[in-house]
Symmetry: C2
Subunit: 305 residues, 2 copies
């Protein structure tokens, strides 16, 4: 494929940024990848692994001359980074981000972006429970959604060019309103993560059930929760702090609903439980039909010989 | 391997029983597999797939002459089935079950078991979100735990013989007290399932977020919940109705804990969230080290080429 951006600067080089770098290289989409990370270990890893062509001690240096700047730091660090890079952005550059929350990132970043630079907020619905520069791989975005939430009145050309890049990484691109994005993500990602963290925490606190039994007998249900609850703590702290309203809304609904089922258990209302458990099957069917997950039993984790 | 039981009767022929049949055949562990299922479709499937040598219209007929009887029906159906087969059990036979709850099954089954027949309650910690006779496969139990909760004063020889069979299926066998079993399972399986059902139900009920968006953007967190929430509704209804006390206990702890995190989000207490999310990572590490799950990112669901 043809080069889409001459020079890309990655601010933050964890799972998402390093995967972008691997994929951009593989498909020949950029001429030069510059990188910045706060930790010296991450900067050294980026050079050692080779997904960055150059790394810098500061974000301000890394963005110089970049046609595309990707903010791939935790949501809580966006404002500071944006303020730091703003005076160094190349006229005509595009800035995007990969944060899981969009309204808070827009509030943090947009005020710093100078005239002549376009900010196109984005969020790849991709990732694994692993984090750091060594966890990245080129196929992470294949067949996954990458949501863009362009600002009102933003120029169409920079959005279209970014879209070209993301599609070339294998992603499917959709545009959403930032507020709606945050609500949808609270349902499909943020609240499920909080619940998984909580359930794993409960198990950790149980005194009558020893930790070794929890681990030993974790098959069937619980181990799926532990995978989710192994995700990056800093990233998730920032998600909950910055998507507070939507998460609390969905948590409220969740608790109400849980109490209804809890009451059905207490009252021995088998019909209500059965009806509920039957309806939820349909959603799974839809996800598989939409190609968003495998129908292989247990995610194909079990070898069927 | 050598034949361990001449004749085995499977009462119920869903995922677990059909997987046992496939595995017993593959390893030559039994000479004849008789089967019973309530539905004519399942009986026909067992013969068509060929995992049963003979099928019967009633459980009473199926158990005749069997050295091992496996009760593989939902927990709520155990009492009726036990009452029906009791007069037809061969002296010296062993009866086991595969129910996810042990105290309720013992109460339902043990009173019916005649003198000279041994009842050894069991529970394989294995399964997938699929159900029915076509969902079975021979390797389902490999490297999975199979928990036995022998009754007080039960003879050691029948327990040892059943253990031999289960180990020959590839399972690791542990013996537990039934009450402790039910508590451990409430933590590692029953409560996580209820929570997953609830979260999927919440998404289903959301009006502002359309169902198509929930499905479309389900990657990262939510789709894992939908897999769990696609499990057999009848089986799970019975689990919650019969493991009521332990499930309500763990649900109470879960809700308390969730409220603590919810409050931390509302108050903006990032330190508390970060500390909590860091502790839960350790449990995941333990599960992977114990060989109970894969460390492949996203369960290996993503191709890394």
């Amino acid at each position: 494929m043809a080069v889409i951006y001459e020079r890309v600067a990655l601010i933050g080089m964890g799972l998402i940024a390093s995967s972008m770098a691997h994929a951009m290289r593989r498909h020949g989409l950029v001429a030069h990848i510059a990188g910045y990370a706060r930790s010296a270990e991450t900067r050294a890893a980026a050079l050692e692994i080779g997904f960055a062509d150059s790394v810098y001690q500061s974000a301000a240096e890394a963005v110089q001359g970049a046609d595309l700047v990707v903010l791939a730091v935790p949501v809580g660090a966006m404002a500071e980074v944006a303020a730091e890079i703003a005076p160094h952005l190349k006229p005509g550059a595009t800035v995007t981000d990969v944060g899981s929350v969009k309204q808070a990132v827009i509030e943090a970043v947009a005020p710093h972006i100078p005239e002549g630079v376009e900010f196109v907020p984005g969020h790849p619905l991709a990732g694994t429970e692993h984090s750091g520069p060594y966890s990245g791989f080129a196929t992470l975005f294949e067949n996954r959604w990458w949501l863009l939430t362009p600002l009102e009145g933003s120029a169409p050309a920079p959005v279209a060019r970014l879209r070209d890049l993301l599609e070339a990484l294998g992603a499917k691109v959709d545009e959403l309103d930032p507020e709606h994005h945050d609500l949808v993500l609270a349902v499909v990602s943020h609240t499920p993560h909080l619940i998984a963290y909580t359930m794993v925490g409960v198990a950790d606190h149980m005194h009558r059930v020893s930790k070794s039994e929890v681990i030993k007998y974790s098959a069937s249900g619980f181990r799926d929760f532990t995978r989710i609850a192994a995700s990056d703590p800093t990233m998730w702290r920032d998600v909950f702090l910055t998507n507070k309203a939507a998460t609390l809304d969905i948590l409220g609904r969740f608790t109400e609903e849980l109490f209804v089922l809890q009451r059905a258990i207490r009252m021995g209302d088998g019909e209500q439980l059965h009806a509920y458990f039957t309806r939820t099957r349909d959603i799974r069917r839809g996800i598989i039909d939409a190609g968003q997950d495998t129908d292989a039993p247990d995610f194909g984790r079990i070898k069927r010989d």
